[in-house]
Amino acid sequence: MSEPMAPPEPTGSQPDSTRTGPGRLLVAVYGLFALSASARAGVQIATKFHHAPVAYLLSAFAGLVYILATVTLAIGSPTARRIAVVSCSVELAGVLAVGTWSLADPATFPDATVWSSYGSGYGFVPLVLPVFGLLWLRRLTRRAGTQRTTMTSAEDAGEATGSGVADGESGASGQGAEDYGVR
């Protein structure tokens, strides 16, 4: 906000940062889930742990993964990005595994976790979030390659080559092409 008169930019001022542009939204949603999942698990474990121990411990684990992903995406250093890739992957595996488990064996889950039924209690956001996270991290890794030679001035050109490579994911996510206003 220090330069309110600057012309609108399709991306943030630091194009290859994990927390600017679409990453801003991603970190916000991750932070939301980090807070809600861990707070909910904390209350459940503290007040009625024996009611559904497996569900509550899985909720707590999910909360920790969300915290890790939020922090590493917000930091965005090379090491943090690697940890973010791992935590997003663990998250995706967790949603799929716990989602399947909760449907196959409902008796183990008398109370819902964040990941039960693939996150249906949370509008399936837990299922979609790690996919967007991994796509975002992959896109940044690729852009870093094209932008090392030609910085922000060639962003459109870099984006054009980048979107050619990323066509598959753009179609899959339905959002890829819009991310930078290249429509």
């Binding site: 906000m1 330069e3 600057a6 609108p8 930019e9 399709p10 991306t11 943030g12 001022s13 600017t20 542009g21 679409p22 990453g23 801003r24 939204l25 970190v27 916000a28 949603v29 932070g31 939301l32 807070l35 809600s36 707070a39 909910r40 209350v43 503290a46 007040t47 206003g181």
Partner: protein, 121 residues
């Protein structure tokens, strides 16, 4: 009990989310009208917190008191956190963060009703 305030928050939250998403779609950045709208949502949430605290002070208790107190703390923080995080962004994705806050405010009202059904929506 009076459900006007939670209902207003749901409508306001969804309207804010729609407006903010429109700004994202039109490639607009954060501006003063959007911040003012966030401020209105914040005031509504504070009013709701006040109503619930008054109920608690009157001796009524929900089944999940700890959860309710967590909500009372988290509710007013949502628009503030979103405003700060969105203002740091100088692209269309700032308003997108505000859209999330609007949706969350609406969802929180529905959850509040589930935690303590005397809070009508």
């Amino acid at each position: 009990m009076n459900g006007a305030v939670p209902t207003t928050i749901i409508v306001a939250g969804l309207a804010l989310a729609g407006y903010a998403l429109l700004m994202t779609a039109l490639n607009r950045r954060m501006n003063v009208p959007l911040l003012a709208a966030v401020g209105v949502l914040e005031i509504l949430l504070l009013v709701e917190v006040g109503i619930i605290v008054a109920k608690l002070a009157g001796g009524e208790r929900p089944a999940g008191l700890a959860t309710l107190i967590g909500y009372l703390i988290a509710m007013p923080l949502v628009p503030v956190a979103a405003a700060f995080w969105g203002l740091m962004e100088r692209s269309r994705w700032g308003p997108a963060v505000i859209a999330v806050a609007g949706l969350v405010a609406a969802v929180l009202m529905v959850r509040l009703h589930q935690i303590w059904p005397v809070i009508h929506v």
